[in-house]
C-alpha cells in the first residue's frame, strides 16, 4: 500500500509515472538538448583553445619549405603527421639576407618507423638551439641550459619522463624536458639539436636509408621572423621572388592560422545551429505538451480544486512535473556527453585534424553550469505558460459540463 503524503512532489511523480511514454519522450528530448549543448560547447571551446594556442606558439611569421611540401609542413605542425622533405642548408643564409627578415632558424624533419616509446611513426624535429625562437621559449621554464647532443625534448602525448632514456634507430637519448599540451602536432613530436638529428639520419641509413645520411647539408624548413611593422606577405613575396626558382616555397603563418580559423568557424557554426534548432524544438514541444496536458486534465484539475487545492497548488504541480522531466533529462544528457567527450578526446582530436586543446577545469565547470541552466530554460518557459493557462481556466464550468 502506498502511504506517501499527497505533497505536490509526490502527486507530480505519480502523474509522470502514470504516463510513462510521454514522460520518457520528454526526458529523451531534454537529454538530447543537454547532450548537444555540453558536447558542442566543450568541442568548440577545445577547438578555440587549440587555435589560440597555435597562434601563440607559432613563433615564426613565415615558414620556408621545399617546393611541393607546403601542405606537408602544415600537416606536421597541426597534426604531427610525420614528413620528410629537404633542401640545401644555404637557404637559411639566403633568406636571412632578404630585407625585413630579422631572425632565421633551420629545422630538420625526420620520421621514425619505430622507437621504444611508440609503435607508430613519430616526427623528429632537429633545431638549432643557438638561433631557435619557436621551440626554446616553450621549454625554457624546465630547461636550464640549451639542448646538447644526446638530449631531447618530447611532446606531451609521448610516453616517457624527464631523465628517462628513449631509443630512436638504436641510438639512446635522454629526455630533458616535456612540452606542455599544445593540441597541435608538437604533442607527438620529439625535438633535438640539429647535429643529433643529422647523426640520427646516419643511424637510420642502416635501417633503410635516408637522404640526410648522404648529404649532411640538408635541412627541411627555415623558420623566419619578420621585422615588426612590416607586412609579412610582402616579405614572403620577396623570398619567393628571390629564391622561388631554387625550389623554395613559403607558408605564411597568418594564412595558415586563418585557414584553420575558417574551418573552425564552419564547424562551430554547425554546432551552434544544431543547438539552436534543438533548443527551439524543445521549447516548442514542451509548450505544446503542456497545453495539451492542461486541456486533457481539466477534469482532474477541477477535482483538485473541489478537494481544496488552490490555483497556486495546481501551478506548482505543473512546474514540478516539467522541472522533474527537465532535471532528469538534463542530468542524463550531460552525463552522456561527459562520458563521450572526455574519455574520447584524443580520438575526437585525431578525427577532426585541427588543433584541439581541452579547456581548464574552472572553464569546464563554468561550461557545465551554463549548459545546465540553458537546458532548464525550456522547462521554466513551459511552466510559466502552464501557470498562465491554469490561471485562465474556468474550472467550475468544467465540473458543470461534466455533470
Amino acid at each position: 500500500m502506498n502511504d506517501k503524503p499527497l505533497s505536490t512532489l509526490n502527486i507530480a511523480l505519480l502523474n509522470l509515472r502514470r504516463k510513462v511514454f510521454r514522460t520518457m519522450g520528454l526526458v529523451l528530448l531534454a537529454a538530447l538538448l543537454a547532450f548537444t549543448l555540453l558536447a558542442g560547447s566543450v568541442l568548440s571551446q577545445s577547438l578555440d583553445n587549440g587555435l589560440n594556442n597555435l597562434s601563440q606558439r607559432m613563433g615564426a611569421d613565415i615558414l620556408a619549405v621545399p617546393y611541393g611540401y607546403e601542405a606537408n609542413v602544415q600537416g606536421a605542425l597541426l597534426r604531427g603527421e610525420p614528413s620528410t622533405f629537404y633542401f640545401d642548408e644555404l637557404t637559411t643564409e639566403r633568406i636571412a639576407a632578404v630585407g625585413g627578415v630579422i631572425d632565421v632558424s633551420p629545422q630538420l624533419y625526420l620520421a621514425t618507423l619505430d622507437s621504444s616509446c611508440c609503435a607508430y611513426p613519430v616526427q623528429l624535429i632537429g633545431f638549432d638551439p643557438q638561433t631557435d625562437f619557436a621551440i626554446t621559449p616553450w621549454v625554457s621554464q624546465t630547461l636550464d641550459a640549451p639542448l646538447t647532443a644526446g638530449q631531447i625534448v618530447i611532446g606531451s602525448s609521448l610516453s616517457g619522463e624527464v631523465g628517462q632514456k628513449l631509443e630512436f634507430f638504436n641510438k639512446s637519448f635522454v629526455i630533458v624536458a616535456r612540452l606542455e599540451k599544445t593540441g597541435m602536432g608538437f604533442d607527438t613530436s620529439v625535438f633535438m639539436d640539429l647535429d643529433s638529428a643529422r647523426q640520427l639520419a646516419q643511424y637510420s641509413k642502416r635501417a633503410g636509408g635516408h637522404p640526410v645520411a648522404d648529404n649532411a647539408n640538408l635541412i627541411s624548413s627555415v623558420m623566419v621572423r619578420v621585422q615588426d611593422g612590416l607586412n609579412t606577405k610582402d616579405v614572403a613575396n620577396d623570398i619567393l621572388q628571390s629564391y622561388g626558382k631554387d625550389g623554395v616555397r613559403v607558408v605564411v603563418a597568418e594564412d595558415m592560422i586563418s585557414d584553420v580559423s575558417s574551418s573552425l568557424r564552419g564547424l562551430t557554426g554547425y554546432i551552434l545551429v544544431l543547438i539552436a534548432i534543438l533548443w527551439i524544438l524543445t521549447v516548442g514541444v514542451l509548450l505544446i505538451v503542456t497545453a495539451v496536458t492542461i486541456n486533457s486534465r481539466r477534469r482532474e484539475f477541477s477535482l483538485f480544486r473541489v478537494l481544496g487545492a488552490t490555483k497556486g497548488k495546481l501551478m506548482r504541480l505543473i512546474l514540478c512535473e516539467s522541472s522533474i522531466v527537465s532535471l532528469i533529462g538534463t542530468v542524463a544528457g550531460m552525463l552522456a556527453a561527459a562520458l563521450v567527450v572526455f574519455p574520447f578526446s584524443t580520438f575526437i582530436s585525431m578525427q577532426l585534424g585541427l588543433p584541439y586543446l581541452q579547456p581548464s577545469l574552472p572553464v569546464l565547470a563554468l561550461l557545465f553550469v551554463l549548459c545546465f541552466i540553458i537546458s532548464l530554460v525550456p522547462a521554466c518557459l513551459a511552466s510559466i505558460y502552464g501557470a498562465v493557462r491554469i490561471g485562465k481556466l474556468e474550472l467550475s464550468r468544467t465540473i458543470k459540463e461534466a455533470e
Binding site: C117, A119, Y120, L158, L339, P343, F344, T346, F347, M350
Partner: protein, 164 residues
Amino acid sequence: MGSRMVPGIVIVLLGLFVVLVPAVIFPTCETQIETAAGGTVPMRCFWSGRAEIGIGALIAASGLLMLAFRPALVRAGIAVATALLGVLGILIPTVLIGGCESPMMDCNTTTFPAVIVANSLIVVVCVITALVLARSDRRLQVQAQQQATTNVTLDERGATHIEH
C-alpha cells in the same frame, strides 16, 4: 514485473557491449611486436582486449542470472558480484595488464575508453540495484515481522476470549 527486469536487461546489454568493443567495435592495436628470434607476438593491449571479452561475457551471464532469479537478496548478491566484475574490467586496461605506452594508439584512443566507460556504468547500475534490492528486502522483512507480531497479539486475544 517490468521494473524488476530492467537492471538485468541493462547489465546483459552492457556486458555484451564490453564483449563487442575489443572484438568488433573498437578492436585493439593490430601491430605485432617482432621478437629477437624473428617471430611476432601481439602487443599488450591485445591481451587486455581478450580479458575484457571474458569479463564482458561473465557480466552478461550475471545479468541473465538476475533475470532468472526472483528473491531480492539473491539478486542483490549477483549485483554486488557483477559490480566487482566491473571494477576488474576497469583495472585490466589501467593497472593489471595495460596497453600500449603511446596515448595515440588505437587501444588508448578508443578501445580502453569505451570499456572503461561501459564498466563504470556497470558498477554504477549494479551498486544502485544492490542498494535498492537490499532496502526492499529489509522492508519486506520488517513487514513480515509486523505481520507476525499482529498475528501473535490476535492469538493472545483469541485465547483470552475463549477463557471467558
